[in-house]
């Protein structure tokens, strides 16, 4: 088997294992829902003033407080401010093990592609997707060592699977040497950091999406109704999710700022001007401004909470647009999709 085949087989295996991990983690979410149901029934049968409802009330009181003080305090108790704490079941651990295995296969696919091409494996659309998704997963796994975000697994793996599926079906190209325009140390730095930033934005996006769902659940719970996605009760409160999303996204923002600067230096070297409003430059700028807006929103009265979460989601949508649409369908100096 040559390197080309090894890379491709590793990728297909990685995708298969990711799919299994996705299923296991989805089952885990279902288990969480039934655990929530069971707890609700227990409460009802014991006709105790529901403890869940109780903690609910205090949680919403806390978020209503909204002072820096309260926020800080909540954020330091990340793991245990769920309305209904949930101890990970076996499926969760299986799902996570499969994720790590898939990640390792994914890494093999990426590294062998690089060895095969005798350069960094990020020089065309197929390779951007391959290493970009690897970085999303890497960021996710690294963040997991610090905060328990395993509930994001289905979401993140789902995203990665869709991206890998699209790119291996539509964007696959054989190994080719670098065109002169890409022969630069800045390819290594600029594209790598951009992909890393994308990894952080992706996790921030997932957290913001869950923040919105969780906020909806909390609002409904305060009115005494429940939501269909019952597993949400086992997740951290929307305020905690918001703080986490913010922290992950600002790392992404700093990396993106660096991407923008490194890209300008490269553009100066290659084309003689550091900024020319080329399509790709425009979108990199738009993304930067959206996330600057997101950071501001968090410091603007009336914009904390769901509104700022929407900005993070729009920001990530712009990242995906920049990557998936601008690279492929827009013309400009950055026509390196290799398609």
């Amino acid at each position: 088997m040559n390197l080309t085949d090894l890379s491709i087989y590793s990728l297909y295996s990685a995708m298969a294992v990711y799919s299994l991990a996705f299923i296991a983690l989805a089952i885990d979410l279902a288990r969480r829902s039934s655990a929530v149901d069971a707890a609700a029934q227990r409460d009802a049968s014991e006709t105790v003033a529901g403890s869940a409802a109780h903690s609910e009330a205090s949680a919403s009181a806390a978020s209503a407080g909204g002072s820096t003080l309260t926020l800080t305090r909540l954020s330091s108790r990340l793991a245990n401010d769920a309305a209904m704490p949930y101890r990970g079941a076996a499926t969760l651990r299986v799902g996570l093990s499969l994720t790590v295995l898939a990640w390792a296969l994914h890494a093999v696919a990426t590294v062998t592609r690089g060895i095969d091409a005798e350069r960094v494996p990020w020089a065309n659309m197929y390779e951007f997707s391959l290493s970009g998704t690897l970085l999303i997963m890497t960021v996710f796994l690294v963040v997991l060592t610090r905060v328990d975000l395993r509930f994001l697994g289905t979401f993140v793996i789902g995203l990665v699977l869709v991206l890998l599926g699209i790119s291996s079906l539509n964007y696959y190209v054989e190994v080719a040497p670098l065109p002169p325009a890409l022969q630069s140390a800045w390819l290594v730095i600029h594209v790598f950091v951009a992909s890393l930033a994308t990894g952080f934005f992706a996790i921030g996006f997932a957290l913001s999406a869950f923040q919105l769902l969780q906020f909806r659940r909390e609002t409904l719970a305060a009115e005494g109704t429940t939501m269909r996605l019952r597993f949400l009760a086992t997740l951290p409160s929307s305020t905690t999710l918001e703080n986490l999303a913010y922290r992950v996204s600002i790392v992404g923002f700093i990396l993106w700022t660096f991407t923008l600067i490194a890209g300008s230096i490269w553009a100066e070297q290659a084309w003689g001007r550091y900024w020319g409003w080329d399509t790709k430059e425009v979108w990199t700028f738009i993304i930067w401004v959206i996330y600057a807006g997101y950071i501001h929103a968090r410091a603007t009265r009336g914009w904390r909470g769901s509104r700022s979460a929407w900005l993070a989601i729009i920001g990530f949508a712009a990242v995906m647009f920049n990557f998936g649409i601008v690279n492929v369908f827009f013309t400009g100096l950055h026509s390196y999709s290799g398609l």
């Binding site: 205090s58 040497p177 002169p180 022969q183 923002f253 600067i261 290659a270 399509t279």
Partner: protein, 545 residues
């Protein structure tokens, strides 16, 4: 009756609105949205040909868009208005905050709150027996100071405390970041005016001298003085291209472009240099970039008497990846009529099933030149500038090719052909007549197009960009926090220590930090004989929501 706003009140009101956080956010989002159209419609600044094409494709829509400055989005009135307002807001925001911060930098931390119990990370410790409250606080102060806190001691009704604050760099970083944004805008806005950019095409062997007239096109900045051009000379000695020939998936893809040049400066020895993509040559205060390349067939035209009326290596513009190239020759004088020629050059000529020619490889394997001849008015005397790369055939008659029934002229290097109507002779020179019969690799000279830039402000822009990054890092990652330590003498003579903190901005590590301070503080206090009362261990009271 409605109270009337005076003029100054109105101004003050407007200013407060403009410099509010809400306005800043609104303008930022507006800026993001306003930048979008420029990526959907070609821009004159980056893609002028695209704009021309757009006008041709959408003759009704284009003028409407043009009125909205859609082809010049980034210099349009509306885009400029948004970012100028944003920067006014920014300046109006940064100045008072800077003042405020300068005062805070010199001010002592605020008095210790009466009750610490509801603050972040609140925790209590029992001081070792025999500890004096005052001494405990002095020790706490020394500890906090050595960790970079600014401190102040307070004594209220017998309760001594230290109030400490750190992380002033956070605000400093934020102010540096925002000020550097202003710096970038100003250098980009005005700085660009002090430079120039010029383009010049050089065929192998040609030399150009860095003077205004030598450029094919020249775009000076508003404040640029062209007498400051350093008159160095640049000779293109050789242009080399490497094509991929091993990997069949990428066969014919260029893998290297190298322009070997000689730079001559008045009064100095000539120096050899290289220009490559991604590696400009920096000389004479300018940066020389390699932007494009192609073939420049050497074409000679003689009149029926045998006098040369035209001879030049004419750059042909590449049309595809295999360098099928299009070029134009204009012979205004010396023949019976003005003659124009439109030609295709195929570095490796091949024939499609339809009979059409194409190039199947970008290097010189089997070069062929084809020319169609036109006679009539070249339009050179109308005073309207014309491009050397296009021929306006409106006032001309086609003599070969197309519907004329006369064969297009075809040449291999070294071939000559008669012009129709006995006008004269055309020769496609072989640049390497001595090479082997099948070796065409040097038969046609190449050209390179260079971009010459001078921008005295790039390093300013770079410095501001670095400040932006550094400001951002400190502003987002240096925690700004207040910490208080309070010592209260109990009735039984023991000393109760209380610790608490307050985050100023996002500060995930605050509670851990307060706990660490407490632990270290207690550990550092001198212990009496009975170090810690075993019956009364240090307690940590969990905070209550």
């Amino acid at each position: 009756m409605q109270p009337k706003l005076g003029f100054t009140e109105l101004l003050r009101f407007l200013w407060r609105q403009i410099t509010s956080m809400r306005t800043a956010l609104f303008l930022l989002l507006l800026l993001a949205i306003a930048a979008v159209p420029g990526s959907l419609v070609p821009q004159r600044s980056s893609d002028p040909n695209g704009v021309t094409q757009y006008f041709a494709d959408h003759p009704d829509l284009a003028p409407v868009l043009d009125n909205l400055q859609a082809f010049d989005v980034y210099s349009s009135a509306w885009f400029s208005a948004i970012y100028l307002l944003l920067f006014i807001s920014l300046i109006g925001c940064v100045i008072p905050r800077t003042k405020h911060h300068l005062i805070a930098l010199r001010a002592a931390p605020p008095a210790t709150p009466a009750r610490l119990g509801r603050l972040a990370g609140f925790t209590t410790r029992q001081a070792p027996a025999g500890t004096d409250a005052g001494a405990a606080i002095t020790a706490a102060r020394a500890q906090l100071k050595s960790s970079g806190y600014r401190t102040a001691l307070f004594d209220k009704n017998g309760t001594v405390s230290v109030s400490a604050e750190r992380g002033y760099w956070r605000e400093t970083g934020n102010l540096v970041f925002h000020s550097a944004l202003v710096g970038i805008l100003i250098t980009v806005g005005f700085g660009g005016g002090f430079g120039f950019s010029g383009q010049r095409v050089l065929v192998e062997g040609q030399t150009f001298v860095n003077t205004l007239l030598a450029y094919d096109s020249f775009n000076p900045g508003r404040f640029f003085d062209d007498t400051t051009l350093d008159p160095y000379s640049l000779t293109l000695d050789e242009f080399t291209v490497d094509y991929e020939q091993q990997n069949l998936q990428a066969y014919g893809q260029p893998i290297d472009f190298t322009a070997d040049v000689t730079v001559g400066s008045p009064g100095q020895a000539d120096e050899a240099g290289q220009v490559k993509v991604n590696s400009p040559l920096r000389t004479g205060g300018t940066d020389i970039f390699l932007l494009g390349n192609g073939y420049a067939p050497t074409i000679t035209v003689t009149n029926p008497e045998g006098d040369v009326v035209f001879t030049d290596s004419v750059p042909f513009l590449p049309q595809d990846a295999n360098l099928t190239s299009l070029g134009v020759v204009k012979v205004p004088d010396g023949l019976a009529e003005q003659v124009g020629m439109v030609g295709f050059f195929y570095p490796t000529q091949d024939t499609a099933q339809s009979g059409a020619y194409f190039s199947s490889f970008p290097d010189l394997e089997y070069p062929m030149l084809t020319l169609n001849i036109y006679t009539g008015d070249l339009g050179l005397d109308d005073g309207v500038p014309t491009s050397v790369y296009s021929l306006n055939t409106d006032d001309m008659t086609q003599l070969t090719g197309g519907d004329t029934g006369v064969e297009t002229l075809e040449f291999m290097p070294g071939d000559s052909a008669e012009l129709p109507d006995g006008l004269g002779t055309v020769t496609f020179a072989d640049n390497s007549p001595d090479s082997a019969a099948n070796d065409f690799s040097k038969s046609v000279p190449r050209f390179a197009s260079f971009d010459v830039h001078h921008d005295p402000t790039v390093y300013w822009v770079l410095s501001f960009a670095v400040l932006i990054l550094l400001g951002l890092l400190t502003s987002l990652f240096v925690p700004r926090r207040r910490v208080w330590v309070k010592a209260t003498a109990q009735s039984d003579g023991s000393v109760q220590l209380e610790y608490a903190g307050l985050a100023r901005g996002d500060d995930p590590a605050l509670e851990a930090a307060v706990t660490a301070i407490a632990d270290r503080h207690v550990a550092g206090l001198p212990t009496g004989a009975a170090a810690v009362n075993p019956a009364k261990p240090a307690v940590s009271v969990p905070d209550q929501t």
